[in-house]
């Protein structure tokens, strides 16, 4: 019983820690901070060059995760490494809030697989 309780509290702490780590930023501030992103990812977050990902409408917390991964080096990309080097956690939250708030062309695969419709 005790072990179960310990496990549950561990889970609760983990859940709390992971939500606290990725907060929601300010999209208006993000728009200003994202100026350098626009050259590749488009002002509207819908990159025209097919080698760059579309960001508009992508999940806020996914964008934050990716930017942190570029910063830590876990995800290794020479261009993005330089871009995120100067970003604070707050900057990352704001920029992610901005791009995720834009109307985009992205969607989940729901309804798009063979046999679905």
């Amino acid at each position: 019983m005790n072990r179960v309780l310990t496990l549950i509290s561990f889970g609760a702490v983990l859940a709390f820690a992971s939500t606290a780590a990725l907060a929601n930023g300010n999209a208006a501030d993000g728009k200003t901070k994202a100026a350098t992103c626009f050259a590749c990812h488009g002002t509207d977050g819908n990159s025209v060059d097919p080698q760059y990902p579309r960001l508009a409408g992508q999940y806020n917390l996914y964008l934050q995760q990716v930017l942190h991964e570029y910063k830590s080096g876990q995800r290794d990309n020479p261009i993005m490494k330089g871009m995120v080097a100067t970003l604070s956690d707050q900057d990352i939250e704001d920029i992610s809030a901005y791009f995720s708030s834009l109307p985009g062309k992205l969607d989940t695969l729901k309804g798009h697989i063979g046999g679905d419709n």
Binding site: S18, Q51, Y62, Q74, G104, D107, T108, G115
Partner: protein
């Protein structure tokens, strides 16, 4: 006139290079291949575990980016336990087909 000819030649070469650089994928084949992807990428708001973050929306994503991402998982340049395993089973043609289909879904 000569200059015009030169320009035309350069443009033609650039066009040819751009098209031959990546083969056109087969969207219909891609549609079948993404069946597996939908287990995670087809569930709105589905989260990755440890660390927790939503699995990205990939329908409508740009073609070459998808190709690069899957090749990145194959080569180990990009790491994610589930995606490494998924990408490993894909041929280059599969990847082209998946990217062609996903990019065609742009809203």
């Amino acid at each position: 006139m000569t200059r015009l000819h030169m320009l035309g030649l350069v443009a033609a070469t650039a066009l040819f290079a751009a098209t031959s650089a990546h083969a056109e994928g087969d969207k219909a084949a891609g549609r079948k291949l993404v069946y597996t992807c939908a287990g995670c990428h087809g569930v709105p708001g589905y989260t990755n575990a440890y660390p927790q973050y939503p699995v990205p929306k990939i329908a409508g994503q740009n073609e070459q980016y998808i190709v690069n991402a899957l090749h990145g998982y194959q080569s180990g340049d990009r790491k994610h336990p589930t995606m490494d395993a998924q990408a490993e089973s894909l041929s280059d043609t599969d990847i082209q087909d998946i990217a062609a289909y996903l990019s065609s879904l742009a809203k």
